[in-house]
């Protein structure tokens, strides 16, 4: 009998020791586990991030490598917003910065430009977030950013709406120029997705009536 009790206690001790493990198990569901974003990092890095929880690596090691599993709870749980929105928004800051840098490189040095920025995305709320994020980032970086977006006539929009995206943006750009919506020192930077199945932003630059795809 004592042996059985001992075995059961031993099992519980092991179970308790595993309770902090982020993987699915007796105490954690698969769904909970998937709502964590975990990565393996070195003990030194883990100590720098969480000095209280992770001790400093020993100065003298015995050759054994130590590491840690660093987990953060996802800001939005799995399934709380559409997958495409999640993909676009989770990498928006990085993507927008990269695309702004590429766009800025297209303007010849010494030439000033007023930037008009807009985003084209099926969900208007997400489109606004992207456009505002880009404008804010550009203003922070010292660009002259206009809060005005060039708008085409209803007839133009109706025609453009029937074109595939690869043509529509180029035609819209030439219409901006033709209608005098963008003069020579005004440029338009557009962020968009081209295919409904992708989760990344592309961008194009309209300058002097010429549309250039950036990425």
């Amino acid at each position: 009998m004592e042996t059985l009790v001992f075995l059961v206690v031993m099992s519980f001790v092991v179970l308790l020791q595993r309770s902090s493990d982020p993987s699915a198990g007796v105490l954690r569901s698969k769904q909970d586990s998937r709502n964590l974003e975990c990565q393996r990092i070195s003990q030194a890095e883990a100590h720098a991030r969480h000095p209280v929880a992770v001790p400093e690596p020993a100065a003298r090691t015995t050759g054994a490598v130590t590491d840690a599993l660093d987990c953060q709870r996802l800001y939005m749980r799995e399934g709380e917003r559409p997958a495409r929105d999640e993909l676009v928004l989770s990498s928006m800051r990085h993507d927008v910065a990269e695309l702004i840098a590429t766009a800025a490189a297209k303007i010849p040095k010494g030439q000033s430009a007023v930037w008009h920025v807009d985003a084209f995305y099926p969900d208007q709320a997400v489109a606004s977030k992207v456009a505002v994020a880009a404008r804010t980032q550009m203003a922070d970086m010292g660009f002259t950013v206009s809060d005005r977006v060039p708008l085409l006539a209803a007839g133009d929009i109706a025609v453009l709406g029937r074109m595939p995206p690869q043509q529509a943006y180029a035609v819209a750009c030439s219409r901006y120029e033709a209608q005098g919506l963008l003069d020579d020192n005004h440029v338009f930077l557009g962020f968009m997705i081209v295919d409904a199945r992708e989760g990344q932003l592309h961008a194009g630059l309209c300058r002097q009536g010429q549309w250039t795809w950036l990425r």
Partner: protein
């Protein structure tokens, strides 16, 4: 956090990846040293006698949401070359198996797939040499962590596996996708962690929970870990390839590749 053996040592052959996609999680091969083979045989024996449960946990990259549906024709007419590069933890045969699985997945999505497995001698085996591919997908698998506890093994043996042995592995699946000019379009690291419990106690408790408590999506026993991993890996590879494909098309301003007529659904235009 815990100690683990040096990941650079070529000790483990078994690829959780391959196990997950081909073999069951309880079948494990261990490398050449005799001690390791004996240990593996011992573990296999325990699996048969006591039962194993392998839990899969997606780490960085693998738990991201995906938009692409791998059941659809996402790469119709595209030429994709898949290169599975053998590493310390992946020999040529295993790389070939992995490549075949990935190739089948892309073929099912309408792509014309070539597979390349560079041999350990440096030469490469190419299934099909016709034309330059639109995309080249390089995959490499690395074992980045392996953890086990000798104390726990002893406790497990002493308690007739009521206390489970626990072994865990973390694999990084590095993916690089290039266009026909060799320009890197997408690079990503997909990490997966597998925790293998050996023991009658854990097997029985898990079986009971699966049977009585957990919903079908939450079950952990049987081959579920392998299936979940395969599903995540295929979805992520499909999404990465699709992203790379779109990026390549945008970067060449949608100039058509001869022979390929990809259909673009209408989008919201300016």
């Amino acid at each position: 956090m815990g100690n683990h053996k040096n990941a650079a040592k070529p000790t483990i052959v078994p690829l959780a990846l391959l196990q997950a996609t081909t073999i069951g999680p309880s079948r494990q091969l261990v490398a050449q040293p005799a001690g390791r083979v004996l240990l593996a045989l011992g573990m296999l024996l325990i699996c048969f006698l006591g039962g194993c449960v392998t839990v899969y946990q997606p780490l960085v990259g693998l738990q991201r949401p995906t938009v692409v549906d791998p059941q659809q024709d996402n790469f119709a007419g595209q030429k994709i070359r898949v290169r599975c590069l053998p590493e310390q933890n992946l020999n040529s045969k295993q790389a070939q198996v992995l490549c075949t699985k990935i190739s089948t997945m892309f073929s099912n999505q309408g792509a014309i797939v070539q597979t390349v497995v560079p041999s350990e001698r440096g030469t490469s085996e190419l299934d099909d040499t016709e034309g330059l591919p639109d995309l080249t997908i390089d995959t490499k698998v690395r074992l980045v962590a392996e953890q086990s506890s000798v104390l726990l093994v002893m406790a497990s043996v002493w308690t007739l596996t009521l206390v489970p042995q626990i072994v865990e592995y973390t694999f990084d699946h590095e993916v690089t996708i290039r266009d026909r000019d060799g320009f890197a379009l997408v690079t990503a690291t997909l990490s997966a962690r597998f925790i293998r419990y050996f023991g009658a106690g854990v097997w029985a408790v898990n079986g009971l929970l699966d049977w009585l408590v957990r919903s079908p999506d939450e079950k952990l026993g049987g081959n579920v870990g392998s299936q979940d991993f395969s599903r995540d890996l295929y979805r992520q590879l499909s999404q990465l390839a699709f992203t790379a494909n779109m990026r390549a098309r945008v970067m060449r301003s949608f100039a058509q590749t001869p022979g390929v007529q990809p259909a673009l659904p209408p989008q919201e235009n300016p």
